[in-house]
């Protein structure tokens, strides 16, 4: 496969200039056509409104306004410019509680630091080829947190006709 990403617009949100440049170099190598930068959640939200990127790649730990704050604003704020925009969260931590926190805030994909070109390409392919439906409940709005029907879900089944969407 040789995906042509030249029409894609990606927003990088990170408070570290050098990290933004590194991620941009990787995105340009992949062939991403347009890359925007923002330094924190507030700027990221404004850039999403003004530039309408297709995908956001955000660091988790930023100041002021971290990556989780940005995702929550995008998913839940009534003035959100794009509630469905895919957000790839960069993180150096894979501890379960951090993953659950990000997942429950509406993150689309994770990408572990240090960022590799191969994994970045794979996440973009996943977003394009396997877009997850969005789930709206009283307490959550975001991409379906059940990524696949592996039979491991042990919680109460809250959805009717589950076979319709557990694919």
């Amino acid at each position: 496969m040789a995906y042509d990403f030249s029409n894609l617009r990606v927003l990088i949100v990170d408070d570290n200039r050098f990290m933004r440049e590194t991620v941009e170099a990787i995105l340009e190598s992949i062939g991403i056509g347009t890359v925007y930068h923002a330094q924190n959640a507030e700027e990221g939200f404004a850039m999403t409104r003004d530039r309408q990127p297709d995908v956001i790649i955000s660091d988790w730990d930023m100041e002021p306004g971290d990556g989780i704050t940005l995702v929550k604003w995008l998913r839940l704020d009534e003035n959100s410019p794009d509630r469905y925009i895919p957000v790839i969260m960069l993180t150096g931590f894979s501890e379960r509680k951090r993953v659950v926190e990000a997942r429950d805030s509406g993150v689309t994909e994770f990408l572990a630091k240090p960022v590799s070109t191969k994994s970045m390409y794979a996440r973009l392919m996943s977003i394009i080829d396997q877009p997850r439906p969005f789930i709206r409940t009283d307490t959550y709005f975001g991409p379906d947190r059940r990524r696949r029907a592996d039979g491991k879900y042990k919680g109460r089944e809250r959805r009717q006709n589950k076979e319709v969407f557990l694919v």
């Binding site: 190598s29 150096g92 877009p131 789930i135």
Partner: protein, 164 residues
């Protein structure tokens, strides 16, 4: 947009605009992208050397501040710096800096009460980071380097498990 209702759960399927914008042919393969990225990272590496040198000076200063007063504010400043250092180091050939930095960040994240902070453990991490940088230990280093990194990670595991 397709929507389905399942009791209290509503499922929304927005149109896949990205699939329309990204043809599966005509671009670069993963292998081509990796090769191009390697060259781009190589070009950035000179800037990185200067950037890391500045960060190491800041690291020494921030550690001195923590030793003098291990306040939440000083610990947070140190965390921010180490977070940034570790996020980039492996990309530019210093995976041990990333590992030690990750261990220190994890410790600082898990230790929320400044009165319980182990300044000696923080300093051991900082000293290890400075040695790896000073000696330019690229890749996985030698056996001794590995043992030091493993010992630091083990110490953090022990300390943080006490807090849980």
């Amino acid at each position: 947009m397709a929507e389905e209702n399942h009791g209290n759960v509503k499922i929304e399927r927005p149109p896949n605009r990205l699939a329309e914008k990204v043809p599966k042919t005509g671009g670069k393969t993963v292998q081509q992208a990796v090769a191009d990225a390697d060259r781009a990272i190589q070009r950035l590496s000179k800037d990185y050397d200067r950037h890391l040198a500045d960060d190491m000076v800041a690291l020494e200063n921030y550690m001195a501040a923590v030793k003098k007063a291990p306040t939440t504010a000083n610990l947070k400043t140190l965390f921010r710096l180490v977070h940034n250092i570790r996020g980039q180091a492996a990309t530019f050939g210093f995976p041990l800096i990333t590992e030690v930095g990750r261990s220190l960040c994890l410790y600082l994240l898990e230790t929320e009460d400044e009165s319980e902070v182990n300044v000696a453990l923080i300093e051991q991490h900082v000293n290890a980071l400075r040695v790896i940088y000073r000696e330019k230990i690229e890749g996985q280093g030698d056996r001794l380097s590995r043992e030091v990194v493993d010992a630091l990670m083990k110490a953090v595991e022990t300390q943080t498990s006490r807090h849980q």
